[in-house]
Symmetry: C2
DNA sequence: CTGTTATGTTGTAACGATTACAATCTAGGG
DNA sequence: CCCTAGATTGTAATCGTTACAACATAACAG
């Protein structure tokens, strides 16, 4: 049985072609795309796809813990199918969002305050190594 | 000389009544208000205030490091005049955004990857202690 | 103090991401 | 194979934010 079919079934979600394609797209493109990017790309092979379906599906997948939405940019949500705890770096020069494989060691302290934590988001913003290098080369 | 006048002058910003009021509002109301909340509140005493001015001013103050904008909610920016490094907790039940006084110990690791960090955002989302207590009491 | 000018303010219109809604379709159980 | 709850679609609406142009004013020189 197809990997993505299985994932949907395990979570009691109806298996539809749209859901399968969105799941697969996120799994194959780990650059934290927007809903609109996912829509535009998948529309190429499925011209009847609706943007509403992309939004609905991403929300469903999110509610079932299959995808994660990042608010790092402030203007649009970015989606991530990597469920493992990790942080993100947003380059303000090239716009790319880079995975930072660290876990937050502070969660315990927050829970000590009596709050219940469901999500941890660690965001860094600045200029990525690649863009810094380009800037330096342009100097001379 | 007024505290806020001094802050603006130190940063080479023209001193205007609007900027002074926005600075003061943020300093007096540390609940991470939206631009719209700031606008609505200040409009009471200055009916000619424009929403554009609030957005422009917040952006200027941000560029000069006098305020910080949080993308924690994903749907709207929240503003913070507390410049000291700290994290935030968003309660998905009552919507409040609570300061968490911890610094991120991971910044060094990110910089080790060659990236330049300008901003660090630590966000936790869940249910706050106060809302948890209410939920528990409602159980019986 | 007054005139000049760069900059700030205002109101309105435009924009872009997301959501609401109603009609149509379909996955999956019986 | 049929039924129906739930999914998909297209369109319109919403909401936060930004663009723009006319007008106003802070700050500085004289
Ligand atoms: Mn990621
Ligand atoms: Mn804060
Ligand atoms: Zn970059
Ligand atoms: Zn709460």
């Amino acid at each position: 049985m197809d990997k993505y079919v299985q994932i949907l079934k395990e979570h009691g979600l109806k298996v539809t072609p749209q859901r399968l394609e969105i799941l697969r797209y996120l799994d194959m493109h780990k650059v934290h795309p927007t809903a609109d990017i996912i829509y535009s790309e998948l529309k190429k092979s499925n011209p009847s796809l609706s943007k509403t379906t992309v939004y609905n599906t991403l929300q469903h997948l999110g509610e079932h813990g299959l995808v994660y939405s990042l608010t790092i940019s402030g203007s649009e949500l970015r989606f991530d199918s990597n469920i493992n705890q990790h942080h993100h770096f947003l380059c303000k020069t090239c716009g790319s969002i880079i995975d930072i494989d660290i876990e937050c060691p502070n969660a315990k302290k927050v829970e000590a305050g009596g709050h219940r934590i469901d999500e941890v988001h660690g965001y860094f913003k600045g200029v990525c190594a690649s863009c810094l290098k380009k800037l330096k080369n342009g100097d001379d």
